[in-house]
Symmetry: C2
Subunit: 203 residues, 2 copies
DNA sequence: CCACATCTTGCGTGTCACGCATTATGTGCG
DNA sequence: CGCACATAATGCGTGACACGCAAGATGTGG
């Protein structure tokens, strides 16, 4: 009961959080990448059914609210990789994990285009994608038997993977690309993922 | 004469721009990563010897002003790579160019630490490092004989390189790292730079 | 059913970005 | 050598925002 009871409150919080985030992204998409300034905090709050002050209890900027979904997704990158079977080679594990995480439902083109090609959102969008790096680096280090504090490989590889997915997204949004997002991500990751992880420990 | 005359105006602009940026970074460093909110626009403007309104003619946020130096540096990444001899292999060219650009004067530890480990600056800092990617991708594509619009390799590699340098910076700032920044960057780039560029064109 | 914790809300405040009009500072030409 | 023009700097006013604070609403547990 403790769990259920606590979960009730926690889920209310989560629900309003998602309501605000969803409303913010929706309104932003409606106005398009060039009219983001027209999306007022008041609009987001009322669209989410909360007070403007409450909105500010969950997010401290419009940008943060709009990119919240992307940020949450990136935060799961670590556990996505950790969930892969331990005997899978690193490169295959990374590719499989990232495909699961980012292409399980094909991303919403409008939403992704909004957060990736709106100048005012660039900073928050980069923060959102970069949030994958920490957990990813931990998971990579665990797999390669390295110390993420001492060895550069995990952190650098994580950054490369996150960057590859970001570039894949940009490419997928570009006009004239008929490929599925999964194919683009595969091709992008193939450029940076080490076929042989070369798990040398630091000298 | 046209050049000199025009240069006078342009150099005045550049000078005030640098004055503002420098003052902003200086004040931010003085307050430390935890007191950025105490750095008022008015302070930056008066420290730079300009009006607060003028400050806002050059930068539209404190964060942008503080990270301006890093952004300018990143913007030169493309030409740094393009300036390498054409017969140099891609991996060596990238490493040499990045070492020139980012380690020619060893970075200022206080400044780098400020922009890399201040939460409020994270978005702008990422934008600053990411600004290297576009020009870098162009230069890589030119070297590999690829089309940066169609092939993913240039863009992904550029993102990986920028990410590697960012991670190298973080590692270099961590306590207990006695290595020079150049060594850290070398080691980081070794994790992502393709020893053989594998210049296959897209099917 | 009641005391407590947590969430929501309204209000006030200080800061900020920016449009607009005015003044100062270079620029090029007659 | 000035004089018309372009560009930059400044002052002012406005609208919006983030956030601290305290009161009210809503669950939570005994």
């Amino acid at each position: 009961m403790n769990d259920d009871a606590m979960n009730l409150r926690a889920r209310n919080k989560q629900a309003t959080r998602e309501a605000i985030s969803h409303a913010a992204l929706r309104l932003a998409i409606d106005q398009g990448p060039h009219g983001l300034a027209l999306v007022r905090v008041q609009d987001i709050a009322s669209a989410a059914g909360v007070s403007p002050r409450t909105y500010n209890n969950y997010f401290s900027s419009r940008e943060e609210a709009i990119c919240s979904f992307q940020a949450d997704q990136s935060r799961r990158a670590g556990q996505a990789l950790a969930a892969r079977p331990a005997d899978e080679p690193l490169d295959r594990a990374i590719i499989a994990a990232m495909l699961e995480l980012y292409t399980d439902p094909e991303p919403d083109r409008a939403g992704l285009r909004m957060i990736m090609s709106t100048p005012e959102l660039e900073g928050e969008a980069l923060k959102a994608f970069t949030m994958a790096e920490g957990p990813l680096a931990e998971a990579i280090a665990a797999r390669a038997g390295m110390d993420p504090e001492r060895d550069l490989f995990p952190g650098v590889t994580a950054a490369a993977v996150a960057g590859a997915i970001r570039v894949a997204g940009r490419h997928w949004l570009a006009p004239g690309s008929a490929a599925s997002f999964a194919d683009v991500v595969r091709e992008a990751l193939a450029c940076v993922v080490p076929p042989a992880p070369a798990p040398r420990s630091r000298s």
